[in-house]
């Protein structure tokens, strides 16, 4: 157990009393305490530009009565501060008459080690690798005009104290290694970006000069883009490569299947439970239980153990992703999807690792079947309008397909589609499912949380490509 109360003027049992007193007639709620340590080391323009360290400590106190959430957070773990938060909560929830739900599932499974990645590798070693990255890349190609490489490391310790004193804890490591390259040739500039990461030590991702393959990939993408032509504009067939392009799934259907939007009936999916929302052969799960993945969690931020939630099974909508609040109001159970960026934020139902499972077809078959279309290999980011269902994502590596063959690379373009109908346009599902390299951050209501995605190659019959060539 951590020592959050050690250096404060309040003991754990005093805190427990305040929590129980505040929540006694509420339906749910807890004190969430968090201590995170993070570092960022950045090489840019041939120099170590930044070496910074952050230590963040605070609590968030939440009380829920029926649909109403009262929340108060502070950095000071002290008697005064906790009492003031308690008063704030009580003044919002003036006449509560609920029954506190003590039930919370238990599990002994852990999906990552209790380590602090920052301490496991010295600053000098990290700086040495970043310099090697810079030298390696600049010696590979004379057209390289800029190299940026950085390490981000974090250890987050959380403790959730519920009414009655029940306490749940988790220690979460997370690292990310990123490389960005800019090439300039004949007055034209293009960039390529690649990265890896997850809930393990830096060395798990860097061993055997593995960092070189990250560099090579960033350089390859930049080189491809240097030869790219303007992208076409209009509706056409789209083949998506495996892995990271699954942010299409994340944007197109993932957000729309989060419990809060469906309880409020503001999601385009809210009345489609049990109905066919995707082509046969399309199965999508959201899984928090994959070892060491960026989106994995041993327990969510309400203390519920995570699970593998089937969202769409063979085309049929099966489940939404739920936190405790939305689950209670929709008369179902939490799927362990209650997450928050940190103690400053309320819990929302969020994705973890969202994956479309493999089918039987090959990527070759897909490409061969397309007369005119595009083949999208890598994406920047995406966004969705939950209510209208329209979503976009930006290609960072894509090619035209002409008469069943991959043609020239095309410039970055936005693709737009309609969430509830796009999965019905999936006409082939590949046998090559792949996880993303561990770089995703999902934003919702101003909160960013680490997530993962996975998918096989897929063929979509019709999407609008936002290029400039008519």
């Amino acid at each position: 157990m951590s020592n959050f109360f050690e250096k404060s003027d309040i003991s754990r049992s005093e805190a427990e009393n305040i929590i129980s007193d505040t929540l006694q007639k509420c339906d749910d709620g807890e004190l969430y305490i968090e201590n995170s340590k993070s570092e960022s080391i950045l090489l840019d323009d041939n120099k170590i530009k930044n070496s910074s360290y952050n230590s963040d400590l605070g609590f968030g106190f939440r009380a829920i009565s029926d649909e109403v959430v009262a929340y108060s957070h502070s950095n000071e773990i002290s008697k005064n501060s906790l009492k003031q938060s308690s008063e704030n909560l009580k003044s919002t929830l003036k006449s509560v008459k609920g029954t506190y739900n003590h039930e919370i599932p238990k599990s002994n499974k852990k999906y990552y080690e209790n380590i602090n990645p920052i301490e496991q590798k010295s600053l000098n070693e990290k700086i040495k690798i970043l310099n090697e990255v810079n030298n390696y890349l600049r010696s590979k190609d004379d057209n390289i005009k800029q190299v940026t490489a950085n390490f981000l490391g974090e250890q987050k310790s959380v403790e959730i104290i519920r009414s009655g004193g029940e306490t749940l804890t988790d220690v979460r490591p997370l690292i990310r290694f990123n490389v960005s390259v800019m090439l300039e040739k004949n007055g034209r500039k293009e960039t390529g970006v690649y990265g890896v990461g997850g809930r393990q030590s830096y060395d798990s991702y860097l061993k055997d000069d593995n960092w070189k393959s990250v560099c090579d990939e960033a350089l390859r993408i930049a080189s491809v883009n240097l030869e790219s032509k303007p992208a076409p504009a209009g509706e056409m067939k789209v083949v998506l490569g495996p892995g990271w392009p699954a942010i299409l799934i994340h944007e197109a259907v993932g957000h729309g299947l989060e419990g809060d939007f469906n309880r409020k009936k503001t999601s385009a999916f809210h009345n489609l439970m049990g109905q066919k929302v995707a082509s046969e052969g399309v199965t999508i799960v959201d899984d928090g239980t994959i070892d060491n993945r960026r989106g994995s969690l041993t327990i969510d931020d309400e203390g519920t153990p995570t699970e593998k939630t089937v969202l769409i099974e063979n085309g049929i909508l099966k489940n939404f992703m739920q936190d405790r609040l939305n689950a209670r109001l929709m008369k179902t159970k939490s799927t362990g999807s209650g997450r928050r960026e940190n103690y400053r934020h309320i819990v929302l139902p969020r994705m973890r690792n969202t994956m479309m499972l493999s089918g039987n077809q090959t990527q070759d078959e897909m490409i061969k079947s397309v007369d005119k279309g595009i083949f999208a290999v890598s994406f920047g980011g995406g966004q969705v309008d939950i209510t209208s269902g329209k979503f976009v994502f930006n290609c960072t590596e894509a090619y035209e397909i002409v008469n069943g063959k991959i043609g020239s690379p095309i410039k970055g373009a936005t693709l737009i589609g309609d969430g509830p109908s796009i999965l019905k346009e999936v006409s082939m599902v590949g046998n090559d499912m792949m996880m993303d390299p561990g770089i995703g951050t999902c934003g919702k209501a101003g909160q960013g949380v680490p997530v993962g995605v996975a998918q096989p190659s897929i063929l979509i019959n019709k999407m609008t490509v936002g290029g400039t060539k008519l």
Binding site: Y53, A233, Q383, T468
Partner: protein, 438 residues
């Protein structure tokens, strides 16, 4: 209550003193406190209350030309001792960079003017609830509105910026923000839109009913949208989207992008990058301005900059580090622009709508489709088809694309500028962009 100047100054000078004792040759520190209280409503009922009390400190230490920084939300001396020791230790192990330094002393702000950025008024949650009740009742008048969410936030902040060169200043700011998000539904579609108001002073905030009604009207207008064909067409950007063009422009002229060579506007100073009639200003001393400030995040004084004059780029946005690298003086833009805006054009909103027989009026864009290295732009968009000055029908599931280099040269601005956001633009028309639809 937000922490007073005395408390913040004491913490700041403690940190500077300790850093010096531990071997730092120079150091700077920012201490801030921000207290926010928010009430959220949904469908005319209380949905959430949220109080946040955030403390933060960030310290940068230098040993000669070596530099490192730490930040924390835990201001207890014990913790600061550990962190500053760690920071100085990391500084020793970080390679030198010849351009690292505190700002030149003669550039630092000498006085802190009262820009009218702090309203001492405290609005109780019950009063926020009254405001939101009025707002939501106005927002849900029409039966087509099926969901309303609204929110009211009061924020009070205070900060101190100090460095080992003797600079020490800070001041309080406040903001009051109300917003309304509505969802409308008909047989064919469900759409969402919003409206909001944010001011330094409570009494300047928009009327609750007006805000709710506007959000609802804008949402209902979007129902039953159509998709149009792919074509080249003039695009009119609503003010709330047009300001995004300025934000992209600001990132492209930041001295960091310029010195790294990663901007399509590198080496363009004194060249014509916009159409002749375009002027861009960054004015930090607007009273009650949402982006107003006395100095930048390094303490350098900020004067008004005419960034673009008759289409010609006059300045980059320069901080100390990148300034030294580019051999230019900081113009107080570490941390970005203040109140950035396009000056008004010569044509009324109505005449702008009328200027083409057919155009697209864009009210929302989605996606991260601005590339400041190449200038390429491609985003998803929602809006209306305009024919002969009249809004014909709503449009969605389209993209709009172009390249900023061409887009900037083809801008026409209306004369309807208002200071609603931090960055502001009049309604904007850009010719020659490509719409991708059916």
């Amino acid at each position: 209550m937000v922490k007073d100047q005395e408390f913040l100054e004491k913490k700041a000078s403690y940190c500077l003193g300790l850093a010096k004792k531990l071997g730092a040759t120079e150091s700077s520190v920012i201490v801030n406190n921000s207290v926010s209280e928010t009430v959220n409503f949904r469908n005319k009922k209380l949905d959430e209350s949220n109080r946040s009390d955030d403390l933060g400190i960030s310290i940068t230490t230098y040993i000669g030309k070596k530099k490192s920084s730490i930040s924390s939300s835990n201001l207890i001396d014990d913790n600061l001792n550990i962190l500053i020791e760690k920071c100085v230790e990391t500084t020793k192990n970080t390679p030198e960079d010849e351009f690292n330094s505190l700002p030149d002393k003669d550039l630092l702000a000498k006085e802190v003017k009262d820009l009218n950025l702090y309203d001492d008024t405290h609005i109780e949650n019950d009063q926020k609830i009254d405001y939101l009740k009025k707002l939501e009742s106005a927002a849900s008048n029409d039966k087509k509105i099926v969901n309303t969410e609204s929110s009211f936030t009061q924020n009070k902040s205070n900060f101190i910026l100090a460095n080992s060169g003797g600079f020490c200043a800070g001041y309080k700011t406040s903001s009051f923000t109300a917003s309304s998000v509505t969802v409308a539904k008909d047989e064919k579609s469900m759409e969402r839109d919003y409206e909001y108001s944010s001011k330094c002073f409570l009494k300047d905030l928009d009327d609750a009913e007006e805000l709710g009604k506007q959000a609802a009207d804008q949402t209902i207008k979007k129902l039953s949208p159509k998709k149009i064909g792919s074509e080249k067409i003039a695009i009119i950007f609503d003010k709330r989207i047009a300001k995004g063009m300025l934000s992209t422009f600001a990132s492209a002229i930041s001295s960091s992008a310029i010195s790294r060579g990663t901007s399509f506007l590198k080496d363009k100073v004194n060249q014509k990058i916009f159409s002749d009639t375009i002027n861009v200003l960054d004015k930090p001393d607007i009273l009650k301005g949402l982006g107003s400030r006395n100095f930048d995040s390094e303490g350098v004084k900020t004067d008004t900059l005419k960034l673009v004059e008759q289409g010609i780029l006059k300045h980059y946005l320069i901080d100390t580090y990148n300034g030294k690298k580019l051999n230019l003086k900081s113009n107080g833009r570490c941390g970005g622009t203040s109140n950035l805006y396009f000056e008004n054009g010569n044509i009324s909103f109505k005449d702008l709508l009328n200027s083409k027989s057919k155009s697209l009026y864009i009210t929302e864009t989605i996606g991260h489709g601005s590339n400041i290295v190449t200038g390429d732009y491609s985003v998803g968009a929602t809006g209306f088809l305009v024919e002969n000055g009249e809004f014909k029908y709503p449009i969605n599931e389209i993209t709009i694309a172009g390249n900023f280099k061409d887009m900037f040269q083809n801008i026409t601005l209306a004369n309807d500028l208002e200071f609603k956001y931090v960055t502001n633009s009049p309604t904007m028309m850009i010719e020659g962009m490509v719409v991708a639809g059916k």
